[in-house]
Subunit: 184 residues, 2 copies
């Protein structure tokens, strides 16, 4: 298995308890009680669903942007980060038909995706997983996992609102949002 | 299964007969007699090996470059294209640690990968398959499949020599080359 593969296993088991599930666009995911985040394919007969994605190299950041991000961001698993969110999204055919320069133009020059995320560092930690080039038919293109402290939940709402107001989001054709709390 | 998934199934069956197998860098692939190119995962108990990859959106071309490519290139499956080559390559960690702007700089501004390929259109048809973000642990990052007429075999050799002489190729840490002829 690809060592960068992660599974988000939805069902009635797992360390993360669902607080709220929303469907912003496209079909809903089946309701679940808990999510377990595992390294590898996460085969689990008791799961209601299982979303797979791989972490990968960055597609859009430039070196100065990356240096800035790396200096500010913190990793997953912080003790105080008892809140999490899983946001699976799919982008439409028009997005994928664009060339790299066109996608970068929408992503950053028009939408400031990187700059918006930067404003919430280090409070909001994130890990992006790519699904589009898996061998399975992926229901989403990206799975983003966020972790933050309860006191930063309002900041996280602001981050989502800012991203969803960008020109980039016109290319999103499926989006779900699952908010979670850590329960050992 | 991902509808962009293709399998290169190596063994003693298939439409393409091996003329020559070369290992340019890294471990060799096991010797085979034939390759079948199939849509999907290509599960086949008789195969000696099976390489999987997905076609995907372009990572480096700009819109003017893409317009130019599309106007000149021809697809696979031409009647006269009785020669083919499969070139699996892997790039090293230094390549994948670069940001998009740095990779584009090496890929095109320094190495002219797109411009070199353009010189051999429409004679040399190609299809690029990505392996790096599959859920299996991929032995290569890319599988490129080329088709051309026997009279263009020398041009194909020149294309390979030109690409291998570029700064981009310093980042290649595994490369094999399989030359094939179509046998119905």
């Amino acid at each position: 298995m690809n060592e960068r593969l992660f599974a988000f296993v939805g069902g009635n088991q797992g360390r993360w308890k669902v607080q709220e599930m929303k469907t912003l666009l496209g079909p809903a995911l089946e309701e679940i009680e808990r999510i377990e985040v595992v390294s590898g394919p996460g085969a689990n007969a008791e799961a209601k669903w299982r979303l797979l994605g791989v972490t990968s190299h960055e597609r859009y950041v430039t070196r100065p942007e990356k240096t800035d991000l790396v200096s500010r961001q913190e990793g997953l698993g912080r003790e105080a980060s008892t809140c999490a969110a899983l946001i699976p999204i799919r982008k439409n055919a028009a997005w994928w038909a664009m060339t790299q320069d066109e996608r970068r133009e929408v992503f950053e020059e028009s939408s400031q995706h990187i700059q918006i995320g930067m404003r919430y560092l280090p409070a909001i930690a994130r890990r992006l997983h790519h699904c589009r080039d898996l061998e399975i038919q992926p229901p989403f293109d990206f799975l983003t996992w966020f972790e933050f402290a309860p006191g930063d939940a309002k900041a996280f709402d602001d981050l989502l609102a800012a991203l969803r107001a960008t020109p980039e989001w016109a290319f999103v054709d499926r989006e779900c949002e699952i908010r979670l709390a850590r329960k050992e």
